[in-house]
Symmetry: C2
Subunit: 400 residues, 2 copies
């Protein structure tokens, strides 16, 4: 038995392991220090009541023969949820039909699995700094990976280089880790580039619910022509705190057609449906009912309160950095704040300084790619009290 030796090309990612080690060393030496974790990538507020009620009601249905549900016929998600997602897209200004939506157990699965339907012989473009899953899932298939640089000069929002060819393009907006969000004009340029290259954009909109600026599209399908070249993946993880509930959705437009080597046209949605039909059996029924509740009027009201709580934290961080004269991206339209380490410090040097001098933990930008060196990520997912305290400590440090 021969293994897939592409796996041997994967680099171990020690980012969060190294952070944990340093934090452990610090807390052992300073048992009384009040550590504040501003590197949290997970939500911290609980699931809202209307969503929990929906899950419990669905669990009860499962206990009665007449309302029990077994296999979902298509595995693409129940109509009630696909219709709710389609209606939600309407409110975002995008026209997505239920038949173009497949419900999944979180964006990470589909983001990795979608590569199954593409040839290994494609060039993949990622923006750097990058969410490591985009890179690793393509290394596993042996694809060539190239980078578009996100850096201070472009506001950490990399744009296409028309002299470079790519076949598959990963975009994440609002971005993890940089918090930058593409404008309509910028996304139009990416769509043009994709069309010129016969490329497919994999658009990760996991943080769309944090967008407040009406000029920033919340879906790639707000852009003309995107349905001919883009697959969009979203998740309820950050929208409704579903990181432990596990539900999201992927849109593969019907207009997304590619040609085979002998010139036949193939529907990407059909290929993806075939893939999922053989390797996936749908999302848990009570989880789908919980997800449906997110899109109700009451559900939206409740989840918006949680998002507003995180947004307020992000605002507090952004204001502090502005006052301190520290360059940053994000904070607005995103739960992430990506800041420039002061005094030309390296990411890890600044990490050590924050940990050892003010007991605040963040994430070194260098862990997300070469363009992350010298930058640092803070997140809005701690409590308001802790966020205020951490920023007070930070401001004092910067003013020393």
């Amino acid at each position: 038995m021969k293994i897939n030796e592409n796996y041997l090309q994967l680099k171990e990612n020690y980012l969060f392991i190294d952070i944990a080690k340093k934090v452990n060393t610090f807390t052992s030496a300073n048992p009384d220090a009040k550590l504040i974790r501003m590197g949290i990538g997970d939500v911290t507020l609980p699931i809202v009541p209307t969503v929990v009620d929906a899950m419990k009601k669905a669990a009860d249905e499962m206990s009665v023969k007449e309302t029990f549900r077994g296999y979902e016929d298509s595995g693409a998600g129940y109509d009630f949820l696909r219709e709710a997602v389609s209606d939600y897209y309407k409110k975002l200004g995008a026209d997505v039909s239920t038949s173009e939506i497949r419900i999944n157990d979180g964006a990470k699965s589909d983001c990795g699995n979608i590569t199954d339907i593409f040839s290994s012989d494609n060039t993949v473009l990622v923006t750097d700094p990058v969410y490591p899953v985009y890179v690793d899932s393509n290394i596993m298939s042996g694809r060539k990976i190239i980078c578009a640089d996100s850096n201070e000069s472009n506001g950490f929002a990399a744009m296409p280089d028309r002299s470079v060819h790519a076949d598959i393009i990963y975009l994440c907006s609002p971005n993890n880790p940089t918090g930058s969000a593409y404008t309509k004009a910028q996304l139009e340029e990416w769509v043009e580039y994709a069309v010129e290259n016969d490329a497919i954009i994999i658009y990760d909109s996991a943080y769309e619910a944090f967008i407040t600026d009406p000029e920033i599209p919340r879906s790639i399908y707000c852009i003309d022509g995107a349905k001919k070249c883009a697959i969009e993946m979203c998740s309820l993880s950050k929208t409704a705190g579903f990181t432990g509930m596990r539900c999201g959705y992927t849109v593969v437009p019907e207009e997304l057609i590619v040609k085979t080597s002998d010139g036949h046209e193939v529907s990407i949605a059909k290929l993806w449906g075939r893939r999922q039909g053989s390797k996936f059996n749908g999302v848990s029924y009570p989880v789908q009912r919980a997800a449906e509740a997110v899109f109700t009027e009451e559900g939206q009201k409740q989840i918006r309160e949680n998002i507003a709580y995180y947004q307020e934290n992000a605002r507090i961080i952004a204001e502090t950095l502005t006052r301190c004269g520290v360059p940053f991206t994000g904070g607005k339209n995103s739960p992430y704040i990506w800041l420039k380490c002061p005094d030309n410090m390296g990411s890890w040097e600044f990490f050590d300084k924050l940990l050892n001098e003010i007991a605040v933990v963040g994430t070194p930008g260098a862990g997300f790619g070469k363009n992350g060196e010298g930058w640092f990520r803070l997140t809005a997912f701690n409590s308001k009290e802790n966020t205020i305290e951490a920023m007070a400590r930070l401001e004092k440090l910067f003013n020393e």
Copy 2:
């Protein structure tokens, strides 16, 4: 963008579509006929009370900040569930440690996804008749597929041909669709063959809970040496009616080590963990709590009642066929009954006869591979009342 053209080699499977068409035609022409569906592949009894209660309790935990759970750190499953599965294996006579277990959203996902970590340049062996997922997920990766014949002469339990080499071997016992279950001696022979060939067995034990004969192993790990060559996948779908809840588990033993092309040893568990780490984010917390409840004393008592109900149906079918002198496999140790069509009828010919003459629907064996022609699958998942009535009609038909 180039697609993975292996997908163009997939055959469309029209089995259940063709059945539905024929049934529709019949019911239109015979609106008053009482149709009995004996082809049901899904469970029909509801989730047991203790499991539903556990899910609702977990949903409530998610609604409180102090007990809310976000991302699961490893994505391999919570310790509470992995320990429950490990304890369950002990009762089956197999030694499987928690670190060897990964919780999944059903066996189908892992069964398809596991092929990611293997080279395309491997020969895959399936037994025919076959569950189509084994075949399709390997066609998608362009692997060569060979068959071992299950037929009347070997009780529809194919054994290895030592003159043929395979790298990856799919075994399903008790088998879908034939209901046959391998004995200890038979599994020993498969393990020997795998070791001789440096092959890996993918062992699908989804129906293990239906085994009543103490001589039939309920896990491949009841066989000496299996931990050096076998991955086992199981699911709570048939054990506890989880087809709509979605939870299962995959065991990759620590002893399962293979060599790379340059002679280095690689742990399959580590490769699989790497794959899942990039492309999977764990199973919903309330679903994992529901699954945990399946393994409690009360949970086991309740699910055994449901399994006993299906087993009684299987017994009724098997007794009827025995009285009628119809050869069959399964029925004992399995919810499936695989019978020989009378008078040398083809599978579809017999399907039409049952549908049109006694309004009973089953599944033509020809839909599962070449060795299925002339055979027919019935299942134990209808109600006892319907099963008794269907068998009374069948017996009358055979006696005419």
